[in-house]
């Protein structure tokens, strides 16, 4: 019932007319690397840095080769409760999609970003750049426990 309402609501939208004005405006961040040359031609969100552990309570974390499904399930629940307001699976939303995050970041970095977002955007260079890339929308500290953050990380491994 609800879904059909949703679908109908989406139908019959106005055609894409080019009304009003538009400015050919491009973001300069990707084109003119000002601060860091070389590597930073890639967006911060796409860059790969598996060495940095970020800033926060997690200094060392080794992942087992097998995914802990039970923990991942718990992590999924926490993620859906606490994170989906800004993060969506498979697409950029307010913040980046978490898919394949461990191919780009260390597990410590990911957990520190969840547990200590204020500290990260102040002190971690990559987190600082990410804040800019995502329009200055700060990652909210959702008050997760370390155990919850660890479970969310395990869930990310399943994506």
């Amino acid at each position: 019932m609800l879904f059909s309402v949703l679908l109908m609501g989406c139908g019959g939208k106005e055609e894409k007319k080019k009304e009003g004005f538009s400015v050919e405006r491009q973001k300069t961040a990707t084109e003119q690397p000002i601060e860091t040359p070389a590597a930073s031609t890639a967006k911060a969100s796409e860059r790969i840095d598996l060495d940095s552990k970020g800033v926060g309570p997690i200094t060392s974390l080794t992942l087992a080769s097998e995914i802990d499904q039970a923990m991942a399930e718990k992590g999924k629940t926490v993620y859906e409760q606490m994170c989906t307001a800004c993060h969506r699976i498979g697409k950029k939303f307010i913040g980046p999609a978490p898919n394949n995050i461990l191919e780009r970041r260390s597990p410590e970095w990911v957990m520190n970003m969840i547990l200590n977002p204020e500290g990260m955007v102040k002190e971690d260079p990559l987190a600082k750049e990410l804040l800019q890339e995502f329009n200055g929308a700060p990652m909210a500290n959702q008050g997760l426990t370390e155990e919850q953050a660890r479970a969310v990380l395990e869930y990310f491994r399943t994506l």
């Binding site: 309402v5 609501g9 606490m82 307001a85 909210a140 500290n141 959702q142």
Partner: protein, 651 residues
């Protein structure tokens, strides 16, 4: 510790000397004021040493100040609607202001009192009375929000309230105006002998703190002005000042001042409690509201109660006595030991102090001086401990320090007078600017006063502040009482009329102060605790929007399919789980206030769109760098439109 060393310094008189070194500008009393400035200076980022809960009087609210700085932290809405916080405007809190007379959006908030355990302040709750439409409210000091309000039946001008017993067994509410009980249509001139004064003992659940009227004592038709509990040796008793023992119903200014002495009523509530527990008392029909706010549903419910247990004092022999007390006494104050009961005879120059020990002896000896409506009157001389010949005029209210001193305000002579318990000698007096009413020493109504400061609350300020037209600010004044002489440190403006106050060491309260509401504990009927719950449902003309908010967007932020004539409920949940990240929301043309929603909380406002168009809503509390982007639109179609509901975010 730092504060403690200040205390030591001032005792040793060093503060004065050291302040001389810091002298800069040559004010006439420069040395003194420099010292005073240091004593009230709380450096940026530092915390005050005490909380002061100062009632707003006719504002209906309770304000939270820090001492010694006099800085205002919060105005807690209690009995009056507050658009800033949506109190009494949002759907969740409207039931809090329900009464047997319907929705009453204002009251006259008078006497805050902090809950106690073993006669010491425990910092769990503040109770406060609404005078006009008799109510007692409870403020929870984990959230600093009003979480319960109970109406008091058979009462009118609920003034000798809301004081707690030594273990918060009861919060007590006495009527100022006597009325027919039960209310009925009768000539006013038949007041005498027919009206009753109800003294209500409201039990407080030891765990949850829920209030329930245990019994009402139906006393003679006097005016019951103020009250205080016995403590220590007098625990189990409660004392009420009375005036208008003449039982006048007109021109009380003259007619209620005829008797040379009125009474302090001494009520042995333990005895009555036992009587009631054994089946005593009469259940009489009543109609009064009991309103409870739940921190998990974030919603208040109002229940009408239909019965109250009343007790006739003559049915419980030995439970109530009258202590003759001169000149229409106002304040009725009990010292930290529980021995002395101070009657502040407001039309007198002197204070009358009764002895609890002597009172018991007089009762034992049955030395009565007659009776009033079956209640024995004790002989004045038999219960009198002493008289304070103050030299002032119009004593109103006394509080105590831990060193055996009392501090009394004098309204007419506008001063605070310090005197010694036992010797009754006046030690010091300091002027108030102007016309002081009540005063407060943190813990000054308990077994353990903190005794470092006294706050005097003034009725008139006249020239003390920059003028603001005919209506000028009211104010409080802070005195250092750590030395032999009191020292005026600070004037600070207050909200409404600063009627009365209660204070407590900040350390007892601040560690328990809540930071957020847990989303996982949110049981609001219309909560959307994650984006998966976001939806809009239509039920005829009623539309419910389950909306979320987080830095810095609403979900949904585009809504279509609303029609003129709909009643649209915005149920908005703040998904933040971080300290101090509230969001607000308001809708153009909504006939209500904004919502101010704390992390993890859900609140609801109603919008009844009257005009076709596309109407924005936005976040009203600056929440992030993208606060100005936190906005959305609702499309409103004509009443007969067949456009279906739809909603989206970012599509």
């Amino acid at each position: 510790m730092k504060k403690f060393s200040y205390l030591l310094m001032s005792i040793m008189g060093l503060a004065l000397i050291s302040s001389c070194n810091n002298q800069s500008k040559g004010a006439a009393n420069g040395a003194l004021s420099s010292s005073a400035a240091e004593k009230v200076y709380v450096a940026p980022g530092e915390h005050d040493e005490y909380y002061a809960f100062i009632s707003g009087g006719f504002s209906g609210q309770l304000s939270v100040y820090g001492l010694p700085s006099g800085r205002l932290f919060k105005v807690i809405p209690v009995f009056s609607q507050d658009a800033e916080k949506a109190w009494g405007y949002n759907e969740e809190t409207k039931p809090m202001l329900n009464t047997s007379h319907g929705f009453v959006p204002w009251d006259d908030a008078h006497h805050p009192d902090i809950s106690q355990t073993n006669g010491e302040l425990d910092g769990r709750f503040v109770f406060i009375n609404g005078n006009n439409t008799p109510r007692i409210a409870k403020i929870d000091l984990t959230t600093f929000e009003t979480t319960e309000i109970i109406e008091v039946p058979n009462s009118a001008g609920n003034h000798s309230s809301s004081f707690v017993t030594e273990n918060t067994e009861y919060v007590v509410a006495g009527t100022r105006f006597s009325v027919p009980v039960p209310q009925r249509d009768m000539p006013i001139k038949d007041y005498k002998g027919n009206f009753k004064g109800a003294l209500s003992f409201i039990s407080v659940d030891p765990e949850e703190g829920h209030m329930d009227i245990k019994f009402q004592l139906l006393m003679p038709g006097f005016d019951y002005d103020l009250s205080h509990p016995g403590r220590g040796k007098s625990h189990g008793w409660f004392f009420f000042t009375t005036y208008n023992t003449e039982e006048a119903s007109s021109l009380l200014e003259v007619n209620a001042s005829q008797n040379d002495k009125d009474f302090i009523a001494a009520v042995n509530w333990k005895k009555i409690e036992e009587y009631v527990n054994n089946g005593g008392g009469t259940k009489m029909p009543a109609n009064y509201a009991h309103n409870v706010y739940d921190d998990e549903t974030h919603t208040a419910t109002s229940t009408m109660k239909k019965e109250v247990l009343v007790v006739n004092p003559s049915d419980v022999p030995g439970a109530v006595y009258f202590l003759p007390t001169p000149k229409s006494p106002h304040g009725c104050d009990v010292d930290p030991s529980g021995e002395y009961i101070v009657g502040n005879g407001k039309l007198s120059a002197d204070l009358t102090v009764h002895s609890f020990t002597k009172m018991l002896a007089a009762i034992d000896g049955k030395k009565f001086d007659g009776e009033a409506y079956g209640i024995p009157i004790l002989k004045f001389e038999d219960v009198l401990a002493g008289t304070v010949k103050s030299g002032g005029l119009g004593p109103l209210h006394s509080e105590f320090d831990a060193e055996g001193n009392a501090y009394t305000t004098f309204f007419i002579s506008s001063e605070v007078v310090k005197w010694k318990l036992g010797t009754w000698e006046v030690v010091d007096r300091q002027p108030c600017y102007y016309s002081v009413g009540h005063l407060m020493i943190p813990g000054g109504n308990s077994r353990k006063p903190f005794g470092k400061y006294v706050v005097a609350m003034n009725k008139i300020t006249k020239d003390r502040y920059l003028p603001t037209g005919p209506e000028v600010t009211q104010s409080a004044q802070l005195y250092d009482i750590s030395g032999e002489k009191m020292e005026l440190l600070l004037d600070f403006p207050t909200i409404g009329e600063p009627h009365y106050a209660a204070g407590i060491a900040a350390d007892i309260v601040k560690a328990r102060s809540r930071k957020i509401f847990n989303l996982t504990e949110n049981k609001h009927k219309y909560a959307a605790t994650s984006d998966a719950d976001v939806r809009i449902e239509r039920n005829g003309k009623e539309v419910h929007i389950y909306m979320t908010m987080i830095r810095s967007h609403f979900n949904p932020d585009n809504i279509e399919g609303i029609k003129v004539g709909d009643k649209v409920y915005f149920h908005v949940t703040n998904l933040e789980q971080d300290y101090d990240v509230p969001h607000g929301v308001s809708m153009i043309g909504a006939n209500t206030s904004e919502l101010l929603i704390m992390p993890g909380q859900t609140e609801t406002f109603v919008w009844e769109p009257k005009q076709v168009g596309v109407w924005p809503f936005y976040c009203t509390d600056f929440c992030s760098a993208l606060h100005q982007e936190m906005q959305g639109y609702v499309r409103v179609s004509p009443a007969d439109s067949d456009l279906d509901l739809s909603w989206s975010l970012g599509d």
